[in-house]
Amino acid sequence: MAKPIYQEFTKGLWKEIPPFRLVLGLCPVLGVTTSVENGIGMGLATTFVLLCSNILVSLLRKVIPSKVRIACFIIIIATFVIVVEQVMKAFVYDLYNTLGVFIPLIVVNCVVLGRAEAFASKNGIFRSILDGLGIGIGFTLSLGALGLVREFLGKGTITVWGEPFFEGPIVNLVESMPSFVPFEFMVQAPGAFVALGLMLAVMNLIPSK
């Protein structure tokens, strides 16, 4: 543990940014990134679960018997996932509907369980909070970035929270440039794989240090 403590936070933003450096939790990455707002919404929901489960797992790490630790982690994570589900259903119903099955699936997101097992169960609470926040924000940024690329190419728009904050998309190429034809492939299923694969390649071009 010679690492300076701030690195627990910053590593999630670049060095170990999921899903690019840490190839985990791909399902929501591919499934919901058809627009920027869906990506960010999913990222924030995951961050919340990750942070809370990291805190609790770290607090209880001495109490939880090692043989049933995975079962305990799953209960803790599932509880927070339901909290997110219920809160989203009550306050952001439209987003809740769009993300659909991917919200309950945060429970099987390997990033969350992976951090509980690999980090929070071995480290103190403060480090675990920083780790959870860092990885969570990194995940949110990745989802947002992939959503940006896919939405911009596939629909020609950039939507950041339609209703509560801005009215409609903040960029709309289809309206402002009639000759632009959206590359619809990008927002469809196959485009998700190709877009993520190519973004991964771009990340590989940049050295991780």
């Binding site: 499934g31 429970v107 190519l198």
Partner: protein, 194 residues
Amino acid sequence: MEYFEIIIAGIFVNNILLAQFLGNCPFLGTSKKMETAVGMSMAVVFVLVMAGVITWIIFHKILDPNKLVYLRTITFILVIASLVQFVEMFLKKSIPALYAGLGIFLPLITTNCAVMGACVINIDKELTFLQALVASFAYAVGFGLALILFAGVRERVLLARVPKPLQDTSIALVIAGVISLSFYAFQGMVQAVI
């Protein structure tokens, strides 16, 4: 006819891996060799059908009548986790030959979103018991088909010269995209409930 439509939809049109993006971790993780891909596919077929049926019964007979719908996520994940444990113990004792083949894949299935996802979809689409059974089977077969096809291509890619930044996961995702594109041709073939 209705069940036939569900099978076609589950395997091809709404393929759980390539159209719904569920279960991508094992998709990338176990597809480097044909052997592991086949093992994983078999294990998924086995567990997914059982999980689909059991979670359906639990949801409609226990959670729904008692107004405990909000506990769905936690119940399902615990059911799947214990089911996997149970299957593992059962196979080890009763069918060691099968265990030797599937054993190492079983623990991975707990965190396979395809299993959990299919169970949740069965509930969300308000399928009847038989529909849920058929749909779970179709999803699992679709998962296996996509995984095995993908592994076949990936084995070949090992022999090809891939540009450095694209190596490994990156090229795998692009290949997955191309396979997904070929499945895309099935779009609109049947109008099933799933």
